[in-house]
Assembly symmetry: C2
Homo-oligomer: 244 residues x 2
DNA sequence: TTATATTTGTCCGTATGTATA
DNA sequence: CTATACATACGGACAAATATA
């Protein structure tokens, strides 16, 4: 078992404990399948109560790092931490590089989704997309906030693939960039035409999907995401050459 | 606040409590921003102790559904549950349809990753991929288990994109299909040539990436994943026509 | 198979720091 | 500023499941 470093008063005791144990697991100090020290042992070694240890282990269970059996103990899972996918560490803001990496993943999925949507969309799917588009148009007219409708539109495209996993992934990715849509839809965004540009790009995606043209939908989604990256001040030079 | 249904003895009390509250949040009974009942109130209403309620809330915090402030209370987060992305519900086996949906998402990302890898791979990247390939070849020769090397190869491709997010996503997706690789590498898989087929497909992907040919890498990855789907008994008829 | 010790799951009571009216 | 409400943390205790002799 790894050595225990004394805890320097954190905001949450259980957070520190779970982070420490998570570190043990990630750096290989505790291999998959091995049994964690007992709650009593951990509580004495960390110098905290058993309730704190239990909350820490509760978090690790939720994250898919360990599982516990009553009477037996807690054990490191076979492939720890791979039950769920999370982009950024909890709370801390992502750097520009990380944001660009996340955006590229979003780019891959959403362009593919647009192409699939062009093939599989139903009339109901188109109606949902059109509604989001109309709402964005209204927000555009009154120079209001269209971030929610923007988000809805992208999710509607993913939903039109008929694949709920793609939809859930788009919803997940959209959440990561929710704040980033603000500069498009705030007053400055309206004044400088960013909101109008985004709306035009959305319209092009919709038209291609409605027309059932996967290639055009892919290209329109590609263009929109490249422009959106530009609006966020991201460099996409390498994309222009590299991503077909 | 929603009504409370009495709990029928589950294996884990805290699990039931957190699932119930999660349901409240997902179905809109508790909107984002609203304050949860106090721990004391929840404990009396559910008929459990505060410790159980605290563990339940601890899990909801870990999942990104709620956040709590000492002295104030626990509140539903703005976009609950979107901190992390998880494919299947915890534990229960996925249906065939769900598996196909997940596989399509994997298909999208991994084919794109192969194309990107062909453009951006370094010599080190190629070395890692080659090592996994060699290991698989050795397993093939002794009719052993190559699932781990198989997983490593796919992750190495994702790593060669230079985008850690894509790598992490590939690792995450690989975990979902880890068990599904068994029929390729068990005795029957060796006997019926499935392992050899997979190896040949892997080699084609590697050659294309090593040659720096994105189109060929994309096509090779596409072929491998379609064949892998067939080995799993999945139908990909619609893919053959729909996914270019 | 039985008995016993270990470990997690659950409950209670209490004290403390924080937020809010 | 005071008082109340609340989450956080502590300690002890028992029950239930498990492992072991």
């Amino acid at each position: 078992m790894p050595t225990i470093s004394p805890l320097s008063r954190p905001s949450q005791l259980s957070e520190s404990v779970s982070n420490t144990i998570e570190q043990w697991i990630c750096d290989g100090s505790m291999a998959p399948g091995v049994k964690l020290p007992t709650e009593k042992a951990l509580s004495t070694q960390f110098g905290v109560s058993r309730a704190v240890v239990r909350e820490a282990i509760s978090r690790l269970k939720a994250e898919g790092y360990v599982h516990s059996r009553q009477g037996a103990g807690a054990f490191v899972m076979a492939r720890p931490g791979l039950e769920s996918f999370r982009l950024a560490g909890r709370g801390e803001a992502a750097s520009d590089d990380v944001t660009a990496d996340i955006f590229e993943l979003r780019y891959i999925v959403e362009t593919a989704a647009a192409a699939l949507a062009a093939r599989r969309r139903t009339r109901d799917d188109l109606a949902v997309m059109r509604e989001a588009l109309v709402t964005m148009g209204a927000r555009l007219a009154c120079r209001g906030d269209g971030t929610q409708a923007d988000d809805d539109f992208h999710i509607a495209i993913a939903a039109a693939t008929g694949n709920p996993m793609i939809q859930r992934f788009a919803r997940f990715m959209g959440n990561q960039f929710y704040a980033s849509r603000v500069p498009t839809w705030n007053e400055e965004g309206h004044a400088e035409g960013r909101a109008q540009d985004a709306q035009d790009e959305h319209q092009a995606i919709f038209d291609a999907i409605a027309a059932g043209d996967p290639m055009a939908a892919h290209a329109a989604a590609r263009n929109h995401l490249v422009q959106a990256a530009h609006r966020l001040g991201m460099k996409t030079d390498h994309w222009d050459k590299e991503i077909r």
